[in-house]
């Protein structure tokens, strides 16, 4: 910053009374350096007058710099004298002003500190909440506590995505007009966010005492059961086993969520509506995730639908012969599937 000029007010005595307000602004700063933030203040002056004013300010600054330059001549060797220094100064100030505005905007919109309190968890807490999500509590007379954190639910959704990818690959799913990764992420996040919002809306209608964050956390931890069931049944393909796990594990995590919601809702109709919807959606989602990527079912679908497959459809395949992970008698299974399809078609 240049040294302040000699009385700034004194030099502008000839400016005229109508610029009094402007003068005060500059005098308040106490320096003759051009203040970029005040440049927009065109109250009561025209462009030409502004230009004249700035020219005067610049002349004063140049005078001040000339005095300073004589003392530090050695530093400006090789540079262009006052004009170069002034240009750099102006550029420097514009840079500072721009940087200040940019960092203000950035800190306003890209502030991740808003989310920080929701990630304030310890590993032991996460572990205990995961286990508790499978244990339905019988006390429904007073509202049960829901931990409002987002780390656990977010990690569970990502784990579900990974398990889903594994399942899709194992069953050789082919997605037209899309990608495997996109479908997996879309399904899992769509379910978590969409169903949470829907149940929150229903809870608002039914006067339930639950916030959006708590609903997100509750449903997120409810996905723990889904992760377990899918992880086991994508690797061991037995229908009976899947149905057993669906009822047991899926049922337990659903019961837990239902119990929490019941404890926070008043009135039998409301409880029925809210909990019935959540239970239906949660259990059906697990069914969908399992069967959408199942091998044998896809073989049947292929036989039934034939070549007329509409776009945006998953194209199932027969069980491949070279799949190394499963030593299935592919010919026998394919034949069985086709026989079943023929039987179904003949009815």
């Amino acid at each position: 910053m240049a040294t302040p000029a000699a009385p700034a007010g004194g030099a502008r005595n000839g400016a005229g009374p109508e610029w009094g307000g402007f003068e005060e602004n500059i005098q308040g700063g106490g320096s003759a350096v051009i203040d970029m933030e005040n440049m927009d203040d065109t109250s009561g002056s025209s462009f030409e007058d502004m230009g004249e004013l700035h020219q005067r300010l610049r002349e004063e600054e140049v005078d001040a710099d000339a005095a300073a330059a004589e003392e530090e001549d050695g530093e400006f060797l090789g540079m262009k004298g006052f004009k170069g220094q002034l240009g750099r100064q102006v550029a420097d100030q514009m840079w500072q002003a721009g940087k200040r505005q940019a960092s203000r905007a950035f800190s306003l919109y890209a502030n991740i500190d808003i989310l920080r309190p929701y990630f304030d968890v310890e590993p032991a807490q996460v572990r205990s909440r995961l286990l508790e999500s499978m244990i339905p509590i019988k006390m429904v007379n007073f509202p049960q506590k829901i931990a409002g954190e987002l780390y656990g639910p977010l990690m569970l959704v990502f784990t579900l995505v990974a398990i889903l990818l594994h399942g899709m690959k194992t069953s050789d799913t082919i997605i037209r007009e899309g990608t495997l990764m996109g479908t997996a992420i879309g399904t899992c996040f769509g379910y978590w966010l969409g169903v949470s919002s829907f149940i929150y809306f229903l809870a608002y209608l039914c006067n339930a005492q639950i916030t959006m964050l708590q609903m997100l956390a509750l449903l997120g931890y409810g996905l723990f059961g889904h992760c377990i069931v899918l992880f086991i049944t994508y690797n061991i393909h037995l229908h009976a086993l899947f149905y057993l796990f669906w009822l047991l594990v899926g049922g337990l995590s659903t019961l837990r969520m239902v119990a929490v919601l019941v404890s926070r809702t008043v009135g039998p109709t409301q409880r029925l509506l809210l909990c019935g919807t959540l239970a239906t959606l949660h259990m059906l989602f697990l069914l969908y995730l399992h069967f959408a990527y199942h091998k044998v079912v896809e073989g049947i679908l292929d036989t039934l639908e034939g070549p007329n497959i509409p776009p945006m459809q998953r194209v199932p395949r027969d069980i491949p012969a070279v799949l190394p992970a499963a030593r299935l008698p592919t010919a026998a299974l394919n034949a069985t599937a086709k026989a079943v399809a023929v039987t179904l078609q003949s009815h």
Binding site: M1, L154, T159, D172, L180, M181
Partner: protein, 195 residues
């Protein structure tokens, strides 16, 4: 108050292109060595750069492409998919570790995660070579073994660099998403079969 003079530092502007490239390549190579032999050091953190991750990501994405123009048979990851997974996965993990209270900067974390994909890229190269032989269960077992070893190596390498920046009792919380991230990449490598 003194006026600030902006000094134009042209010391690196005037050197030859070859010098610049060799210097950057040497820096990248040095960091590769640090990843292959992970020790507790902060070389990766101190002078972070994103050249290495870009080279690794592009190599991996190119090798994972099916090469078939027929879009109906596309079940595998495409170039854009791998690219997006790697970079958005790294961004998510970085945000997560910052939210958990880590004191690592955004780009340092991206740099570490990107460089630690090197073992998995090596695994991809080995898998492609192994796939040139005849298919069969032995083929699969060899590939599975290689991928698992490299997966573990990636996680150990990234933990060595990232763990110190987390509060001591939350290291597991920060390492788990890294585990998921490298698991997805390893899975893509393992299930790759050229048409």
């Amino acid at each position: 108050m003194r006026s600030r003079i902006r000094e134009f530092d042209s010391s690196t502007l005037n050197e030859s292109v070859q010098n610049t490239i060799m210097r950057d390549l040497k820096a990248v190579g040095k960091k590769f060595m640090h990843v292959l032999y992970p020790r507790k050091s902060n070389t990766l953190l101190r002078d972070w750069d994103l050249w290495g991750p870009l080279i690794l990501c592009v190599t991996l994405a190119l090798m994972l492409q099916r090469g078939s123009v027929d879009s109906e048979k596309d079940g595998g990851p495409q170039f854009a998919e791998v690219f997006v997974i790697v970079w958005f996965g790294a961004v998510t993990i970085t945000l997560n570790s910052k939210l958990l209270g880590g004191n690592i900067s955004f780009f340092q974390s991206l740099c570490v995660l990107g460089y630690c994909i090197l073992p998995l890229t090596v695994a991809m190269l080995v898998c492609r070579l192994v796939l040139l032989a005849e298919p069969g269960p032995i083929n699969f077992m060899v590939r599975l073994f290689v991928v698992i070893v490299m997966f573990a190596w990636s996680i150990v390498a990234s933990t060595a660099f990232l763990a110190d920046s987390q509060p001591p009792n939350r290291k597991a919380l920060a390492v788990y998403p890294v585990f998921l991230f490298y698991f997805v990449i390893s899975w893509m490598i393992l299930t790759f079969t050229p048409q």
